[in-house]
């Protein structure tokens, strides 16, 4: 074998390190963000943060309890109707989806998935806040629906398409009706992937802030009804962060730590789900 010229070898080694540096720089912010979240958020992270209502500046022991509750309420509210809509839409696209309606729906789903989330806030505002004349959890859920549905419809379609054709044919050959085949065999086969998609979308809407700004607005107290202004964790992070008070900045970091823990917990759990299945 001929010896490699020094120049070529040097360039190769140099490029190798350059690519390595790129990868390092790409994941560096992740470590920095986690480090800051933990080091700045941990000192405010006490039980009172999780169980108390927000308090005015100067008073000790304010919390984000209503935000945690609010986030769960609007996320669940969104999912109650979004999951069936999205999964059925995905079933239609994967199992029956031919012709003009299907391509129109597929195009809509793809387009909606790319729409900036703040625009979904405008959707919730004009269709729910304006007619009801008040900010409410309903409006927030309407905005989040527009984010949730396209993501889940798309993953459902993709996951159903990974189910191999012979599985369907075998079921049909046994005389099982087609709708039963779809629901009990095809959907069952793809369920881990679909559930992963649902959980990832859930983690996503749990952290969304922009569409909530002018739909649920935020609240300093417990919200007891769905047609009231509602607090949510991401909104609290935002309003604490842009406030001029040092102690509220600390609260923002602590709230962010709680939020990221939840989001990553769901996100990583969701990934686990499909890995074990395969």
């Amino acid at each position: 074998m001929n010896t490699l010229s020094f120049r070529r070898k040097a360039i190769d080694t140099g490029m190798r390190w350059a690519f390595c540096l790129c990868a390092f720089l790409v994941i560096l912010p992740l470590f920095m963000i986690f480090f800051d979240l933990v080091s700045k958020g941990a000192k405010e992270l006490q039980w009172s943060l999780l169980t108390n209502l927000p308090r005015p500046v100067g008073e000790e022991g304010g919390g984000i309890a209503n935000g945690i509750l609010g986030s769960f309420v609007i996320t669940l509210l969104t999912m109650i109707w979004s999951v069936p809509i999205a999964v059925m839409c995905g079933i239609y696209l994967a199992e029956y989806g031919k012709g003009r309606l299907a391509s129109a729906v597929r195009f809509t789903v793809d387009s909606l998935a790319g729409v900036p989330s703040i625009i979904m806030g405008i959707f919730g505002y004009t269709l729910v806040v304006l007619p009801m004349k008040r900010f409410s959890a309903w409006a927030g859920a309407a905005a989040l629906t527009m984010i949730f549905v396209p993501i889940v419809a798309r993953t459902t379609e993709d996951m159903l398409r990974t189910v191999s054709q012979p599985v369907r044919e075998a079921a049909l050959a046994l005389g099982i009706e087609r709708w039963k085949t779809t629901l009990y065999i095809v959907l069952r086969t793809a369920q881990a992937g679909i559930l992963t998609g649902i959980l990832l979308a859930m983690a996503r809407i749990l952290g969304e802030t922009a569409p909530l700004l002018f739909t649920i607005l935020g609240n300093q107290f417990w919200q007891t009804r769905l047609d009231q202004p509602t607090a949510a964790m991401p909104l609290q992070v935002f309003s604490y962060a842009i406030s001029p008070y040092k102690e509220w900045h600390d609260k923002a970091w602590a709230a962010a730590l709680v939020l990221i823990t939840l989001v990553l917990f769901i996100n990583i759990g969701a990934r686990r789900l499909t890995r074990e299945k395969r």
Partner: protein, 310 residues
């Protein structure tokens, strides 16, 4: 599946039911478009096409124009792309072609986790960590030594700035460009790579020759996709860009973006201002829609050409 229409009434009912939900999604999409068009009509009627080229934003005089916001959005997104593309493509090449086996999974998982962080947390980190860091380590020295003769680095240095927004945006869009780039890189036929190595090429020569030839369109597609993400990003940008509607030349100047002005002013706006904000929303919608459409078109063409779908 058999294409024949089933005669079983339950089958037909189930198909109709799923079609109903699919149609519902279509309706939601159309509804969104209608809402944006209808609600922006007052502003559109008042200002017409001049809205796009007017720099006015005066709620008292009821004069509104979108130019400074469009400008801010486009500039920050463009800068973010400029920073993010080389890094993510480099990292993608590292993961696919250089990294030892044990390192591939963790690195790509970590990069994916970046995409899972909520945008408001990026914003928080931006305000309290990134901005002070950039200000003391980059903006102040640059403004001092280069500011007086290069307008790009002209002071005064506040901290929240176009530069901070662009850097933060670039961090946020890296995971998207990275994952699409990796998919594109994976479409390169292994045999061609092996062929270059077999005739004595180094790894870098392999990348340059084969990857360079195959992947430029795909990486361009990934870039456009990242651009689509960057254009609509709201919270993080709102928190670090400074929120000042200006046409700027310096990277250290405070700016504003389309999404940020909606986020900041929507809840308290009424009448013409509200309508103008929704018109900005409509413009943003159209902009991201076109950009995403272009990305999809580029990437789908590529997959067709290589006939190597996954």
């Amino acid at each position: 599946m058999p294409k024949k229409v089933s005669k079983n009434p339950k089958d037909r009912a189930f198909e109709a039911l799923s079609a109903f939900f699919a149609a519902m999604v279509l309706t939601l999409g159309l509804l969104l478009l209608l809402v944006l068009l209808y609600e922006s009509l007052p502003a559109l009627r008042k200002f017409g096409a001049g809205f796009i080229v007017s720099q006015a934003w005066n709620p008292v005089e009821k004069e509104f124009g979108a130019l400074s916001f469009i400008y801010g959005t486009v500039i920050t997104s463009f800068l973010a792309i400029l920073l993010a593309v080389p890094l993510s493509v480099g990292a993608a090449i590292f993961i696919n072609d250089f990294a030892p086996q044990w390192l591939k999974k963790p690195v790509s998982l970590l990069a994916e986790l970046l995409a899972a962080i909520p945008s408001v947390i990026y914003g928080l980190w931006g305000i309290f960590v990134l901005v002070p860091m950039l200000r003391s380590a980059f903006m102040k020295p640059m403004a001092k030594y280069f500011g007086w003769w290069i307008p790009l680095f002209k002071g005064p240095v506040y901290g929240p700035s176009v530069l901070a927004a662009s850097v933060l945006l670039s961090i946020m869009i890296v995971p998207f460009i990275l994952s699409v780039s990796r998919e594109v890189l994976a479409t390169v036929p292994v045999r061609q790579k092996e062929a270059v190595l077999a005739i004595g090429g180094t790894r870098w020569e392999m990348i340059r020759i084969v990857v360079g030839q195959h992947c430029i369109p795909g990486i361009f597609g990934a870039t456009v996709l990242g651009l689509g993400r960057a254009l609509g990003e709201t919270m993080a940008v709102t928190m670090v860009i400074g929120n000042r509607p200006d046409i700027f030349y310096s990277l250290f100047h405070q700016g504003y973006s389309m999404a940020a002005v909606i986020a900041n002013e929507f809840a308290e706006a009424a009448d013409l201002q509200l309508s103008s904000l929704i018109l900005i929303g409509l413009l943003l919608f159209i902009l991201t829609f076109l950009v995403n459409l272009a990305a999809k078109w580029i990437l789908s063409n590529l997959v067709k050409n290589t006939s190597l779908r996954n």
